[in-house]
Amino acid sequence: MSEPTNHPAPSRSDAAIDEFESIFKRAERTLYHYSDISIQKVAVVTDGDQAMARELGDNVKQFLPHIGEQADWQYVTGDQYHNVNDLLKIMAECNPDLIVTFRCLDESSLVPQHTLGVYVDVMTQTLSTPILLLPGTAPQPHPLGTHPCKGVMVVTDNLAGDDQLVNHAVACTASKSTIWLCHIEDDVLFRRYLEAIGRIPEINTEQAEELIAEQLVAIPAQYAQSCVEGLKTAGAERNIEQVVEFGHRVNRYQQLVAQYPVDLLVTNTKDNDQLAMHGVAYALSVELTNVAQLLL
């Protein structure tokens, strides 16, 4: 007979209450719920003229054919705004469901590097509208490609429960496309906590490392599995791949983008703790300029 493990025995101490709470919390799953992302109105924001904006719009329609077919497209050109407030007013009037734009709008004289530019920077933080950031910068755009988006990588540091990210990824792809659900746990931070745990004699450090690491990856992995089942039930099946591991976030995401045929990155930009953009999202949006990004 094998010797089963993992299940603490009940005892008469208060610790038993905590043990059983942990068992039940471990049995708790965050399930994915599919909802159709409706994009009725798209605003293409450029710092060029109307012809350039329309050409860009046509490229995006090819890239995201589902959205392109059903949406009402509006074009905002460089002569319509002169500062951030002007652009925000236009966006408020236009009230789009998606903004399509480049990094570093109206900054051609600055030779910008490693920045989103002031316009995009402010829009990501003040508007709740998702922003599709096209590859390259406004002064040096990269071609979007002529094929529809087939590979989307969802990039986050907390995948479990983020239905919004997954639903946007689904909305940007057709049925046979691949979605990589990526969740990278910061290994540096984890090591720092383990160092603290290592100084506490009441906690077995080796056991703590093993169990905490196991739980940290189990939660997003279970959610990713729930996405597969949820999409199948909703009839929106996609090829879901999960990448859940420890590592240096920005480096690892760069490697993953290089490793897989990724057409679009989907990431959260809003950070409850600060007005500035979410740390990883900002780093990725300025480092990975050769791939389109959907900033939520």
Binding site: H7, P10, I17, F20, E21, K25, A27, L31
Partner: protein, 483 residues
């Protein structure tokens, strides 16, 4: 003291009345120490063990100086049923080993089988079945509490169901109902503890003294447990405002949330899980049919059945059995063993005879009044102190009372046994210190930062306890009339 002396003089033969009075004071002192266990910061086994040691030493010395020819403690060899004599220290035969072996075997068995995840699996499965509807959830958790209290013990039942309640109500965003749920579950543990002969220690002690078998006990307890559970749940529904969900949207949202629980997560091995299910069924069947076991196997007793199944279950962890030996509640077992020694000494000192005489007054009342008085007294006493010494003392006294046991010296059908069983169990619902499971309920309540004082508990719980005790009195009257 004079009263003790006067009473003792009337009852005692070879025991001086001052000795009886002295030990009566010692017994009262021990009960007080148990009631203030938390203040003393000492475990029960140590408190009662100290009293047992004190009683043995003093009674030996007093016996030596009062009547050397007839010492108060009957030292000497024990005569076995086959006529052989065996030398045992006086405190060994003083202990009721059938009770000790039932508790040891059953707790080891539960300790091992609960690791299969069988109980948590059932708890999560029912949570999902409830669809997240608060009223259905309360009914399901109430039923679970009663069943777990009956099969496991009331403390473990409260820990399992209370923990799940905290997690599931948080998930459903209904923490406003948490206090009501936890209180109701705490109160139901003591009703579940009435279901079988081995569900609570007073049942085991009284059942053994009365000679009530597992099945007769179960058959008699089931109707009361079902009715009392339903009444308690309905009372909780109105007291705590637990309502069912009405709109389809609410129902869908709640069902989606509880659907997120995965019951298989708590099962480490399917093989072990199903083996534990079979073992548990075998354990219950053997206990139920113990008196009908063939080839004299029934003579081995229920304690052996419990130890046998514990031994079988331990084979799942054959390399780690010491883990389970450590997990046994040795404090509880030491407490029982010491308690039996104290009671034995009290018996020799005629203290039980004095209490029995006081009880005799109650038992000679008209039958219904006698039953109600005994049940209420037992409930009142167990609400403020440990119900185990109470049950042990009352069982010992009633076992020699002719009104209870009749001319044949044995009457398992006497309603007075049930008065003690109901009173000792249900009395635990009156105060938060009345039973170990209500103490656990309070611990979970405070762990969740919910405000409930001792008086606050009594204000809410007393209404439930009064209804349950009235139901019990009615049930004892009804069954004594029908049988």
């Amino acid at each position: 003291m004079n009263m003790f002396l006067a009473t003792a003089a009337g009852v005692g033969h070879d025991v001086p009345s001052w000795v009886t009075g002295f030990y009566l004071i010692v017994l009262i002192l021990m009960v007080f120490c148990l009631a203030f266990e938390e203040k003393i910061h000492a475990k029960k086994s140590l408190i009662v063990g100290t009293f047992a040691g004190f009683c043995l030493v003093t009674e030996t010395i007093i016996g030596y100086f009062t009547d050397r020819a007839h010492p108060m403690l009957p030292f000497g060899n024990i005569t076995l049923p086959n006529g052989h004599e065996i030398g045992l220290p006086i405190y060994v035969p003083a202990i009721d080993w059938s009770v000790i072996t039932i508790i040891l075997g059953a707790s080891l068995f539960v300790e091992v089988t609960s690791r299969s995840g069988i109980f948590t699996w059932l708890a999560i499965k029912l949570t999902k079945q409830s669809g997240g509807d608060p009223w259905r959830l309360l009914m399901f958790y109430g039923a679970l509490t009663v069943i777990f209290s009956a099969v496991l013990n009331n403390v473990t039942a409260m820990i399992i169901v209370g923990s799940l309640t905290t997690v599931s109500l948080s998930k459903l965003d209904r923490r406003d109902l948490l206090l009501g749920f936890l209180l109701t579950e705490g109160l139901l543990t003591n009703i579940g503890g009435l279901l079988t002969l081995i569900s609570s220690v007073p049942n085991i002690i009284v059942g053994q003294a009365a000679g009530i078998g597992f099945m007769p006990f179960f058959i008699k307890a089931v109707p009361f447990v079902i009715v009392a559970t339903l009444v308690t749940l309905l009372q909780a529904r109105f007291t705590f405002g637990v309502k069912g969900l009405t709109t389809e949207r609410e129902k869908k949202s709640a069902a989606d949330l509880v659907a997120g629980f995965d019951e298989s997560e708590s099962v480490p091995s399917r093989y072990f899980f199903w083996s534990s299910v079979l073992l548990l069924m075998g354990f219950i069947i053997c206990l139920a049919g113990q008196s009908a076991l063939p080839w004299d196997l029934d003579e081995l007793g229920m304690g052996f059945v419990a130890l046998f199944f514990a031994g079988l279950a331990l084979w799942f962890y054959k390399h780690d059995v010491d883990t389970f030996y450590k997990a046994v509640d040795w404090d509880l077992l030491g407490f029982f063993a010491s308690l039996f020694v104290v009671i034995y000494v009290m018996e020799q000192a005629e203290v039980l005879a004095i209490i029995g005489k006081g009880l005799q007054e109650m038992l000679t009342l008209p039958p219904q009044a006698a039953q109600a008085s005994l049940l209420i007294s037992a409930a009142a006493a167990s609400s403020v102190t440990d119900n185990i010494p109470l049950a042990a003392v009352l069982a010992k006294i009633l076992a020699s009372n002719p009104i209870v046991v009749g001319p044949e010296g044995s009457n398992p059908d006497s309603p007075f046994w049930w008065c003690v069983i109901f009173g000792a169990n249900l009395g635990g619902n009156i105060t938060p210190i009345g039973s170990a499971s209500t103490v656990v309920a309070m611990t979970i309540i405070h762990k969740n930062n919910l405000s409930l004082t001792f008086v606050g508990f009594v204000k809410v719980a007393a209404a439930f306890a009064v209804v349950q005790i009235l139901l019990a009195i009615g049930y004892v009257w009804l069954t004594s009339y029908l049988l």
